[in-house]
Symmetry: C2
Subunit: 203 residues, 2 copies
Amino acid sequence: MTDTKATNITWHEGHVSREERETLLKQKGALIWFTGLSGSGKSTIAFTLEHALVEQGYMAYCLDGDNIRHGLNKNLGFSPEDRTENIRRIAEVGKLFVDAGIVTCTAFISPYRDDRNAAREVFEGNDFIEIFVDTPLDVCEERDPKGLYKKARAGEIKGFTGIDAPYEAPDKPELVIDTSKCSPQEASVTIIEYLEKIGKIAK
Amino acid sequence: MTDTKATNITWHEGHVSREERETLLKQKGALIWFTGLSGSGKSTIAFTLEHALVEQGYMAYCLDGDNIRHGLNKNLGFSPEDRTENIRRIAEVGKLFVDAGIVTCTAFISPYRDDRNAAREVFEGNDFIEIFVDTPLDVCEERDPKGLYKKARAGEIKGFTGIDAPYEAPDKPELVIDTSKCSPQEASVTIIEYLEKIGKIAK
């Protein structure tokens, strides 16, 4: 430990502000909340967007089933209460990432309007961007990437969104994307242009 | 939406890797887990370190009572089960931040060895850095920044760590800091030198 080094550090109380981190990163924090049926393309778009942003030098991070369900939310099941708590925790973690200045994507079915609206309430200003991945059910079911629709139709899975559990479409999403009509790359461009428009990243 | 823009984006499946983000940030993710009594100086060191790192262009972020207890963990109390769940969630959120490549600090009393060891288990390699802020109880009680020791001594708060609830010191912390013998700036220098030594940030 050297005195020289120690005295070169400026004394600050409390957290580094979001603005200071955003200045460092040359971007503004945002939470991009993808919602839609299983197989609608939420994760695919989120990952395509994440890669595109990182390639351009922006800090982006995706929260999805892979890193949430096996970690933070591994003690939650699929009851209505647990689904609500699942979404609540994701929103709160997303808020921390946004506070860190990161363009954060969440890719979860999040079928209930109340849960998504509660998530929106956690954020301020234009930080929360709800994207309805409005791919028709028959297209999602045709894709069936994890074989879940087949199991749901066979009655092997109960309470599957779109089959025997409701999906409540957003009233006023910031963006609507139908992946039966555009590629994940095209969807990412739409989202990047939106982020530029609202000043989250530079044009 | 333009074809040109869309075709400029490279197609990738799955998450951006931790390594790609670390390359972008020119640092490696780490979780610096401060543990110690109330008033020992955990948050003060964490914030001083955070500011010092951000001033040097590194991405650092602190999780503490301010942003965790009122958000993600607002549905937890102070029972032993809730304390354990509190620490578990903090570790899991920390893991996400580390995966994002961020030097992450957590500043919580975290009095139980088993809870901290469970947190350590969530991480790999040298990602988890336990720092025991080993400031003597009488110094912490003299400082009493939130007036909590006074209330605990008066019996107004029950189960207060160090008074009528145990603090279990770490067996093998990566670093030990006694803030009755060094300033927060000096402590930060010690930690920065440690981060340099293990290759989390450049020398």
